[in-house]
C-alpha cells in the first residue's frame, strides 16, 4: 500500500475542482485483520453503494476536496468525481432542500451535516419536505434520502455542538432514525439506509469514528445490510436489562463488566434503531430480567428513554419487579469545561449504580 500524494497547495487556489485529477488516492482498504474502525466502515459502505448504484451521490460541506470534515468521505471525490461528490456552499437549509429535490426527482442523495446541531438550520426541509411528502402527495413522491453526520456530545465542544437529536427526529412519522454503535452497525445500517426508499436520519458519533471493532467476513461483504427497526442484544444476561444506543452502548457494556464482578448479570441491548423502536426485543428482555435501566446521552424530558419506559410500562407492567431507571444527560445546555462536561454526561458508574438500585442492591 503506497501512501497517497496529496497536493495541499491546491486548496489555496480559487477553483478547486479542476485540480482533483492531480490528487492521487490513498488506499482505503480497511485495516487488515478482522478489525475495522467506524470511520472506515462508513466510508466503505458509501463507496460500495455508490459503485453499485449510479443514482447515489454525496453532498455536504467539505466532503470532497477536504476528504470530509471527519474524513468519512475520504477518497470518494477522487474515485467518483465532482458530479457525485458535491462540496456545497455553507447553507444547510439550501443543500438540504436541494438534496430533497434531487430525491424527488429520483436520485439517492446522502446529505452530510458537519454535526446534527447545524441540521437545525435545515430542519424544515428534513421534516416538512422530506418526512411528510410521501404522505401528503398521496404516495406519489417518495424521498429516498439519507441525512447523516455526528450527533450528541463530543469532547469539549460546548452547547451548540453537543445536542443529541435522537428524540426529536425519533418522534416524527415519515422518518426512520438509526443510531449505529459498532463498525458492523455502521456498515450494515448505512447500506440499509441508502437502499431504503424512505428518508433516513443516520445519527453517528464523533468519538466512535476512530474506534476499532471486530468484523467478520460477512460484514465485509458488499451486500451486507442490517434491518432497520431491529435492536441487537450485545450481551446476554438474566438480572437486569440495560438499553442504550450509540456511544452509551460501550458504556453499558463496561458497566455490565463491573456488575458481573458483583454477581449481577446484565443484559445489554443496543437499540440500533430509534424509529422504528424495537419494542419486542426490549420487552422480551424485560420479561426475562424483570428490571430495566434505560440509558441515553441526551436530555431527559421527552427523551428516547421516556419512550422505552412508556413501552415497557404499557406492555410488560406485570413483569416489572422495580421501577424503571432512566440515565440521561443533565437537563442543561452542555458546558465546555472538562470537569463540568463530565458531570453533565452519563458515566459508567451512573449506569452501575442505577442497575444496582433496580436490583435492590443499593440506594
Amino acid at each position: 500500500m503506497l501512501p497517497g500524494i496529496v497536493r495541499s497547495s491546491s486548496r489555496h487556489l480559487p477553483c478547486r475542482r479542476s485540480l482533483t485529477k492531480w490528487m492521487s488516492v490513498r488506499n482505503l482498504a480497511a485495516a487488515s485483520g478482522d478489525q475495522m474502525t467506524v470511520r472506515d466502515a462508513l466510508n466503505s459502505a458509501i463507496d460500495e453503494e455508490m459503485a453499485a448504484d449510479p443514482k447515489v451521490f454525496v453532498m455536504g460541506e467539505e466532503v470532497g476536496e477536504y476528504q470530509g470534515a471527519y474524513k468519512v468521505t475520504k477518497g470518494l471525490l477522487q474515485k467518483y468525481g465532482p458530479d457525485r461528490v458535491l462540496d456545497t456552499p455553507i447553507t444547510e437549509a439550501g443543500f438540504t432542500g436541494i438534496g430533497v429535490g434531487a430525491a424527488f426527482q429520483g436520485l439517492k442523495p446522502i446529505v452530510e451535516f458537519m454535526t446534527f446541531n447545524f441540521a437545525m438550520q435545515a430542519i424544515d426541509h428534513i421534516i416538512n419536505s422530506a418526512a411528510k411528502t410521501y404522505y401528503m402527495s398521496g404516495g406519489q413522491i417518495s424521498v429516498p434520502i439519507v441525512f447523516r453526520g455526528p450527533n450528541g456530545a463530543a469532547a469539549g465542544v460546548g452547547a451548540q455542538h453537543s445536542q443529541c437529536f435522537a428524540a426529536w427526529y425519533g418522534s416524527c412519522p415519515g422518518l426512520k432514525v438509526v443510531t449505529p454503535y459498532s463498525a458492523e452497525d455502521a456498515r450494515g445500517l448505512l447500506k440499509a439506509a441508502i437502499r431504503d426508499p424512505d428518508p433516513v436520519v443516520f445519527l453517528e458519533n464523533e468519538l466512535l469514528y476512530g474506534e476499532n471493532f471486530p468484523v467478520s467476513s460477512q460484514v465485509r461483504d458488499p451486500n451486507f445490510t442490517l434491518p432497520i427497526g431491529k435492536a441487537k442484544v450485545e450481551r446476554e444476561g438474566t438480572d437486569v436489562t440495560i438499553t442504550a444506543f450509540s456511544k452509551m452502548v460501550g458504556f453499558a457494556l463496561k458497566a455490565a463488566d463491573e456488575l458481573a464482578k458483583d454477581g449481577i448479570k446484565a443484559e445489554v441491548i443496543n437499540l440500533r434503531s430509534i424509529r422504528p423502536l424495537d419494542r419486542e426485543t426490549i420487552n422480551a428482555s424485560v420479561r426475562k430480567t424483570y428490571r430495566l435501566v434505560a440509558v441515553e446521552e441526551g436530555w431527559p424530558q421527552h427523551g428516547v428513554c421516556a419512550e422505552v419506559c412508556a413501552s415497557v410500562q404499557e406492555e410488560s407492567f406485570d413483569y416489572l419487579d422495580a421501577p424503571i431507571e432512566r440515565i440521561s444527560g443533565a437537563d442543561i445546555p452542555m458546558p465546555y469545561a472538562a470537569n463540568l462536561e463530565r458531570l453533565a454526561l452519563p458515566q459508567i458508574e451512573d449506569i452501575v449504580r442505577a442497575a444496582k438500585r433496580a436490583c435492590y442492591r443499593s440506594k
Binding site: P14, F95, G101, Q105, L107, Y135, M136, Q140, P276
Partner: protein, 475 residues
Amino acid sequence: MGLLPLLLRGAPKRFLRASGSYRSLYESNSRRRRHGTDAAAADQAVNSRADHRPDDQMLDFPGAKAAFTSRMEFISPNAAEAVPCFRILDDLGRALDGSDIPEVDSSLAVKMYHTMVRLQTFDSIFYEAQRQGRISFYLTNIGEEALNVASAAALTKDDVVFPQYREHGVLMWRGFTLDEFANQCFSNEAGHGKGRQMPIHYGSEKLNYFTISSPIATQLPHAVGAAYGLKMDRKNACAVTYFGDGGSSEGDFHAACNFAAVLEAPVLFVCRNNGYAISTPACEQYKGKHSIQLLAFVLTTSQYFFLFLNFDAPGDGIVVRGRGYGMTSIRVDGNDALAVFKAVSAARKLAVEQSKPVLIEAMTYRVGHHSTSDDSTKYRSGEEIAHWRSVRDPVLRFRRWLESNAWWSVEDEKELRGAARKEVISAMNQAEKKNKPPLSELFTDVYDTLPRNLLEQEATLRDTVSKNPPSLAPH
C-alpha cells in the same frame, strides 16, 4: 503561483511585470536570509511592488478578479434606470411597433385562451363555494392567468414544475381535469391526494407537477436539486419553479439561486412579482427608491399624489439580484401572454442547451385576496383592485389580440363562458357528493411499506370505531 499571472487580462505584458515583482520578492527574501532582518526584507518587498503604478496591479485575492482603483467610490444601491420590462402587446392587446411576435398559431392561442377562461371561472366559483362553507379554504389566481398559462405553454411536458401555490393554471394547461381539481378541494376519496392536504394543494406525478407545499420558497432548492438530477440523467428537460415577490425574501431563495449558478443547474426561477405578499406591499418587501418614478406619478396622476408621497417606491425588484448570483435574468410584463411565452421559451432553451439557471421576473398584480383567509380591502383601496381587475385584466388583453387576428368572436366568448361555468359547477357538485377518503388510507404512505406499529394502530382504531356510533368514521 506561476499560473495566476496567465489568468490576468493582457497576459503577456502583465506576466512579465508580475513575475518581475515576484522575482524581487524572492530576491529580497534571499537578502533577508543573508542579513537576517525580516522587517527590512518586508520593506524591500513592499517597495518593489510599489515601484509599479497601482492600476498596473490586478486583484489577485482568491475571492474575485478585478482591477484596482485609487478612487474610492461606493456603488449606488440603485442603478440610474430600472431594468426595462419586456412586452409585446400594449395594454389594449395591440402588438407594439417593432415587436417580434412569437410563433403562436391560432390553435395554440385559442387553447391558451380557453385555459385562462376556465381558470378564471373555476377560481370565481370555488371562491364563492368557500364563502358558502362548502369547502374550508381557497386561493385564486385572478390577475395572473396569462402568466400561468403562457409560461406553461412555453414548456414541454418533461419539464418538472415546482410551484408555490398560485400556479393552478400551469397544472390546468398540462391536463389536470376540472374533476381532479374539484376532488382535491373537497378532499374526497377520488382526490389524487387521498384527502391528505388542504384545498388547492394539488400535485400530479404524471403531469410532472410537484405537490404544492405550504412553507414559502422551500420549492426553490427542491427545483435546483431536481434540475441537477435531470442534468445527471442528461434529459432534454429543465426544472421550473414559481414564487412570489414575498418568497424572494426567504433564505431558501438565496441558497437556491447561489447553488443553481454554482452547480450550473438547468432551472428557471419564475418570480411572480404581483405587488403583495398577503398585506405586505412590494415596497416593504425589498428596499430601494426611484425618485424618477416618484416624480412621474406626481406629474401625471395627481389623484395619487398623496398616496405616493407617503410611500417609498419599491426598489428595482427581483431581477437585479440575478446578476449578484451570476445568473442570466430578464424582467417581463407578466400580464402579456405573448411576452411571457416568448421569454420562457427562450429561457428554457438556454437552461436546457447550456445547463444554466435563468431568473425571470414577471411583473403582474394579485387581483384577488391572498386567500379566503384574507380581506385585502383592509390594506389597499377598492379602486385599485377594480382598476386591475377590469382595465388591466390580462385575459381580456389577450382576447383583444385574438379578436384582432379574427381568431375569436363575441359569440365564441359567450359560448365559452357559458360552457366553462356549466363544467365547473358540474365538477363541483359531483365532487361534493363523493365520499370522503376511507379509514384504510389513514395510515398508508407514511413509509414505503406499512410498518407494524401502524397496522396495530389501525386495528385498534377499527375496533374503537366498530364499538361506537357510526358517525365516527365511515368504512
